[in-house]
């Protein structure tokens, strides 16, 4: 029992409430947001350290003993994801200062960002399947509002689609929880795991429920064939919101798949994991196809989200220690690098006034810092060593080959080439070439925008070069995945 682990949820929640009262005072809002976000990084870091030293940490909310109350569980996986989330939150908030605009700031933009963080961090931390649904709702409601706030035509149109798809998936989520509850009689995730583990053979209905969960989380995580809503919806909102969505929301879906598939549905793998693998491989292919199909820089990065989801889930579906380690390493890398890439193209759009790659070129002449940051982000995305994407991808592929899953591993290996092509296309055509004149409508604070990006990229580079240090943490996270006993024991046997 430790109260520390609820703090990363409470800090943004209280900050959000506080911010509502300062709606018209933009400067105050900025200060509060930034300080709170920074504080939360510190807290999240201390949670990571605590878990690293003392193992899985739990908190029974209201002191109702597990499995009857709601239990928060910080294992290394959740602690690391929370830490990553807080870092991205901080960077995006800094970036928003000179990007989002006063109007949105006055209409609770910062409060909504904090609410979004509450939802994401809560989802990573909770150990209760219904509570997970609740945090999904917090996150989704905040995302609906962030998507629609500003009320431009494209925002309204895309919000409607996003909202409908997510309301449907939420309904399916509740139904799935109800089905699962009916079969196992509990909501506590550790106990669900324990009960399913005690069965000699997994009944068919549980496999069906596993597939249902895969559909529910797959819709959030945008796997094939449930991703259709994503390219349009992510295209609409302003850049910082896009960065939050791209870096965080789909990853909550991925996290939930990882959590439920390792904790609940670890039996009958031949069926469920095989299905996951097939979908993951197709997801990679579809993502790559999308990213090379467009000359719009937003679209290129958006489709790269889908590719990465496929890579991560492929590693999960192989389900060996090596492949899990690869997936987790890649997951954290991808959160960082996607945030950075969205923010980067945001600066490019600010400078040029367009996201159409055919309409600008030669940016490197006047913005060399932007160009080099983009280049590092691009090759990190493609998994070029020694940058952050490499070790994760290496282990995913190595895990695939070792498990004799040659097709998927080879596809992922070669997908890197097209991923690289899709982002280097931006470099070659957008940064190289002859600079053009752009009709600038507003002056931009280039340095202020670049700072948070450089921050993320620095962390990502350190993440890559210091892989050995990171590895010691990630391998601890993987222990819970390959051995659910650890999770059960921490929650139920305290």
């Amino acid at each position: 029992m430790i109260n520390l682990i609820v703090l990363p949820i409470l800090i943004p929640l209280l900050t959000a409430v506080l911010l509502i009262f300062f709606a018209s005072k933009v400067k105050t809002q900025r200060w509060i947001s930034a300080i709170s976000a920074l504080l939360n990084i510190g807290v999240a870091f201390s949670v990571v350290r605590k878990v690293f030293v003392d193992g899985i940490q739990i908190l029974n909310v209201g002191s109702w003993v597990a499995p009857f109350g709601i239990t928060l569980v910080s294992d290394m996986l959740s602690a690391l994801l929370v830490l990553t989330t807080t870092i991205i939150g901080f960077a995006v908030i800094l970036y928003s200062f000179s990007s989002i605009g006063k109007e949105r700031e006055k209409y609770y933009y910062y409060a909504l960002v904090q609410f979004l963080l509450v939802g994401v961090i809560g989802a990573f931390t909770t150990g209760d399947i219904f509570n997970l649904f609740v945090f999904f709702e917090v996150m989704l409601m905040a995302s609906y509002v962030l998507l629609v706030i500003g009320g431009t035509k494209i925002q309204l149109r895309e919000s409607l689609k996003y909202l409908t798809v997510n309301v449907i998936s939420s309904a399916l989520f509740v139904i799935s929880v109800a089905y699962l509850y009916s079969v196992v009689g509990t909501l506590n995730m550790a106990q669900i795991s324990e009960r399913i583990g005690s069965l000699e053979e997994m009944p068919g209905i549980l496999t069906v429920i596993a597939v249902l969960f895969l559909i529910v989380f797959g819709m959030k995580g945008a796997i094939f064939p449930l991703y259709f809503w994503l390219p349009g919806s992510y295209f609409a909102p302003p850049i910082p919101v896009m960065a939050l969505f791209g870096a965080l929301l789909t990853k909550v879906g991925v996290y939930s798949i990882i959590r439920t598939f390792t904790l609940f549905f670890f039996q009958d793998k031949d069926y469920t994991y095989e299905l996951l693998m097939i979908l993951a491989i197709i997801t990679v292919v579809v993502g790559v196809i999308g990213s090379i199909a467009y000359w719009n820089i937003k679209k290129i990065i958006i489709y790269n989200i889908i590719t990465a989801i496929g890579v991560i889930l492929y590693g999960v579906s192989v389900a060996t220690t090596t492949s899990f380690t690869g997936s987790i390493l890649y997951l954290i890398h991808d959160m960082l690098i996607k945030a950075a890439l969205f923010l980067l193209i945001g600066v490019m759009i600010k400078i040029t006034g367009t996201s159409n790659l055919r309409q600008f070129s030669g940016l490197i002449k006047h913005y060399p810092g932007l160009a080099w940051t983009f280049f590092i982000a691009a090759i990190s995305l493609a998994g070029i060593p020694p940058f952050s994407g490499f070790v994760g991808k290496l282990l995913v592929i190595q895990g695939g080959f070792t498990a004799e899953e040659y097709i998927g591993a080879t596809i992922i290996l070669l997908s890197s080439l097209l991923v690289l092509y899709s982002v280097m296309k931006i470099f070659i055509h957008g940064f190289w070439g002859v600079p053009k004149e752009y009709a600038k409508k507003e002056s931009i604070s280039y340095r202020a925008l670049l700072f948070p990006i450089v921050l993320i990229i620095t962390i990502s580079v350190l993440y890559g070069i210091g892989s050995d240090y990171v590895y010691s943490y990630v391998s601890q996270a993987v222990q819970t995945l390959v051995n659910p006993e650890l999770y059960i024991e921490a929650v139920l046997k305290e």
Partner: protein, 800 residues
Amino acid sequence: MSLLHIAILSPFIFAIFIPFFYKGFKSIHTGWFTLILPIVLFLYFLQFLPKVGGGSSVIETISWIPSLNIDFTVKVDGLSLLFALLITGIGSLVTLYSIYYLSKEKEQLNTFYVYLLLFMGAMLGVVLSDNLIVLYTFWEFTSFSSFFLIGYWFDREKSRYGAQKSMLITVFGGLSLLGGIILLYIMTGTFRISEMLANVDAIVNHALFIPAMIFILLGAFTKSAQFPFHIWLPDAMEAPTPVSAYLHSATMVKAGIYLVARVSPIFALDQSGLWIWLVGGIGIITLFWGSFNAIKQTDLKAILAFSTISQLGLIMSLLGVGAAALHYDYLDDNIFMVAIIAAVFHLINHATFKGSLFMVVGIIDHETGTRDIRRLGGLMQIMPITFTIAFIGAFSMAGIPPFNGFLSKEMFFTGMVRVLQMDIFHLETLGFLFPLIAWVASVFTFVYSMIVVWKTFAGKYQPDKLSKKAHEAPLGMLISPVILVSLVIIFGLFPNLLSDTIIAPAAQSIMPQFIFDDIHISHWHGWKSPELYMTIGVIVIGALLYLTAAKWKRVYRLFPEKLTFNKLYDALLPSLETGSNLFIRSHMTGFLRSYLAYIFIFFIGILGYTIWSKDAFTINRANTAEIGIYEIVLALLIVIGCVTIIFAKSRLTSIIALGAVGYTVSLFFVIFRAPDLALTQLVIETISVALFLLAFYHLPKKFRHEESRRFKLNNALISIAVGVIVALIAISSYSTKLFDSISKYYVEHTYDPAGGENMVNVILVDFRGFDTLFEISVLSIAGLGIYGLIKLRMTRRKEG
């Protein structure tokens, strides 16, 4: 961290200081500052020469990712030392040359030298790393530094094209190499080459042996521009000429050769013959194709590019053929070993003569303003020193005595002729192709070598076709090529200066199974040697072909432009893009209804299949209540309500029907004795119906689009199927209660210790109060959103 590590990393560290130097000392050419490093490194590596004789090596390690067996292990043996000396030696000369080639007023020298240093460090890393992952890391670095150097003049469309092409092809190879490395790791559990060598037997008999070989060869072939991946190299000539001399002739393109040589001790043992045929075969085809195509080029640099392709093929084929030595008795006088020695020797020679030729071309371009042989000619008197350099370089390349190229070319012939004595892997029947193609290709090599010299320097001087008045190059620009051609002559006259110092240790690393000592390279093999007649044949036929070139050049028209690999590449990218675009457009319609249809079809298909294949449907009525008249009536009401919602012609009717459904559900709650739920449901239904009515008042009159019957039918089918699936799973879940529910706990603890009287309330505010807290947050967020949506309209503003 040892001195060796520092040596490899020093170019990277040095690169950091280049921009400062560039800014701080505008009057001094940045190249002078850069030049220090390769010279120091060259001297440093020279002192390893005595340490690597007889197959010994120096190993240093620092740990990087020990948990994954990835450590920065550096190993200096004969092969890597040879390359390290080439990299730093040619690197010094090229840097010196570039100081006069690139104007400090016009060019961005800071970026140029940063890229050059990055390349140098990366290349040293490739040849000195013992750990394959580290090797791969540096390998990709060389690809990217090459990318930046080719795209150095990025204003030019062609530079960008060439840069992208080289990047895509070499990175493809790099990834493939990575695949091979991973497979080797799976077979051996180590990333270190020296440890793999200790485990060769396990690898050779492993099922992954052949896939690993093919993966690694793809990496080597793309990097060393082997057929059909050679297409990137001619376009890489968009880089400044010093870069072409350095990366795209002397060093980087030899990384593939290095790799093949490095893994030879493992893969040459291949019992299927694939290695010999792939390495030797692709090599010899590349040799032929490169030399054949060089002749039709009119740009001097393009000739040299194809010539480089061809010469890389030559070295590659020697490594392939030499592998046969391992399939015969491990005698030290094994006659097939000569191919390996020839490969090493020619590698050195090629660097000297090709390096000098590239520099010559750079000088001509610099001093006349063109590289087109149709506009050049008669420069012999105007540029006598340049002519001499070109003459020596080209004649060495053509294999004419007394230059070093002659010696290695003869040795190459020896290696190829000895293929005739091999009787394994079908070489006894098809082996004759090797010496035959080798000889034909050498004839072409002779022809284009002559073209390079005579078309440029002989003939008539045509000043009107040149953009500048031609004159001899400045002294500084001549130093480097003069040093290189001096080496051409020295190695040509005294080849045995190299034989025991560098060639033997390098060959030893390629084939540790043999002992290479007492290598003696001789100029004369006697009247009976076939090499002699092959060389004479090359010169005679070559001279004839050169003189009659105008007559037979029509041959090239037989190869239609459309069918080249270049065209294939050019067609591939756009069609990939268009294809992807069409594919995406085919299903990303932008309509929510299509997306929902896809999602639900998947839902039905996969869940239906799972229920069927897992035999998951169960029904158990043991715990269910009797169905009475009330239930039937209410169920019917719900059905009627739902049908009305869908088919109603006006919004009002639909909303009322919706309300009716809701109220009926609350009646169900009443029947099933859940009064608080019934009350809640009633309140919610009342409010939402009222709100809907209010909101819809403001909406346009048009309610439904008229849709086709088929569309409606499809949607109806999908909806029904979704309903059936959900119901089936619900019934089965309800019928499969495997465990007791935890709800008893709530019943028992509501009074004590929770202190409440209504269990539902206690669950909401206490047992699961945490849920409720955040459900309240959800409501507040929604409230903020609605407020913002009403007040803030940014439609007319530009989005960012």
